[in-house]
């Protein structure tokens, strides 16, 4: 195995360890938490908030390819998609497919 590919394997192992760690500690902490407890409710709120923060960041301060599109176009695409989602009995197929096409088109023509 060359140096670079053994490096890649180590990078993958380190990444997966860093990822599994939070999940593992979560299971350990869950042992004593009842689903009716206040601490569970608090963690539930934090979990949803952290996800919302992550998603908002993906849209407002994206990394990678998405950073090359205009922020107002991204906002527009997300709002249109959520409206379509709400008006189509919460069907997720239409808004997701449409968002990709809409963003690619708007990004080229505006």
């Amino acid at each position: 195995m060359s140096d670079i590919s053994s490096n890649i394997i180590i990078v993958i192992l380190v990444t997966s360890f860093a990822t599994y760690l939070s999940r593992f500690l979560g299971v350990v902490s869950s042992k004593k938490i009842k689903e009716t407890s206040k601490i569970f409710k608090w963690f539930n709120c934090i979990a949803y908030s952290v996800l919302a923060a992550l998603i908002a960041r993906m849209i407002i301060f994206p990394a990678g390819e998405l950073a090359e599109s205009d922020i107002f176009i991204r906002f527009f695409v997300v709002i249109v998609s959520v409206v379509i989602f709400l008006f189509n009995k919460k069907n997720l197929v239409y808004p997701t497919i449409l968002s990709a096409i809409l963003l690619a088109l708007l990004n080229n023509f505006i």
Binding site: I4, T15, A18, T19, F40, C45, T96
Partner: protein, 232 residues
């Protein structure tokens, strides 16, 4: 060991109109293409999704690898972006715990905790008796994880044919899917407030500390929402 009826009931959540397959597929196709571009081979790309299966962490790994960051820096960057998995796990596992189920199922299946599988489970757990929830969860996890792995392969193989417009289009699918799922999850004041405040405070903290913004924003927003919900 694993009740196949509940396992397949969970596994089947990858089909249908509320399926995460498209969104997961789009984002892992992008990951597959990205990994190829930074010099991973096919086996390594599969190995990466197989072992990590959480999108933001894989992106951070790819970025850090590209700039030649040290292993300790990669570890810290990935750990930081994935600490959100901790509150997510604590907010999920107590719903699945049952005395009759062996512990290893929980330690193994926590690997499946990622945004899509988590949101699906949070939306559906009440439809399954507590005793069988862990098997249902393992089904959901296996289904979404399989899509992620297959899509990584597709993205890797198709990367030469994906132009910039297609990559930008693929990149918006995941946030849009998550956003719709979150809007769909807003069923109580506490949860709605958690989501709205998180979406505002997360980006707001970005101006103070980009690395810590998700945690700072998420923990403060969740705490405010919790207290408002409790005392209203």
């Amino acid at each position: 060991m694993i009740n196949s009826k509940y396992f397949f009931k969970g596994f089947k959540s990858i089909k249908g109109l509320d399926s995460p397959a498209l969104a997961l597929g789009a984002s892992f196709i992008a990951i597959g293409a990205l990994l190829k571009n930074i010099g991973f081979n096919l086996e390594q790309s599969i190995f990466s999704t197989f072992l990590t299966y959480a999108l933001p962490g894989s992106l951070v790994m790819a970025e850090s690898f590209l700039i030649g960051a040290s292993l300790i820096n990669i570890f810290l960057a990935v750990w930081l972006v994935n600490t959100r998995l901790y509150p997510m796990t604590v907010a999920l596992m107590p719903l699945l715990l049952h005395k009759s189920q062996p512990r290893w199922k929980y330690y193994l299946s926590c690997h499946f905790i990622a945004v899509s599988a988590w949101l699906i489970m949070k939306g559906k757990y009440q439809s399954v008796e507590k005793k069988h929830r862990i098997d249902f969860w393992i089904g959901i996890g296996t289904g979404t994880w399989s899509i992620a792995i297959i899509s990584t392969v597709i993205g890797f193989l198709a990367s030469d044919y994906l132009n910039k417009d297609m990559m930008i289009g693929l990149a918006i699918v995941n946030p849009v899917y998550f956003m719709c799922m979150m809007v769909g999850a807003m069923k109580s004041l506490q949860i709605s407030l958690s989501i709205i405040l998180g979406a505002i405070l997360g980006p707001a903290f970005f101006f103070i500390s980009p690395e810590w913004s998700i945690l700072y924003g998420g923990v403060s927003a969740g705490t405010i929402a919790y207290f408002v919900g409790e005392f209203k």
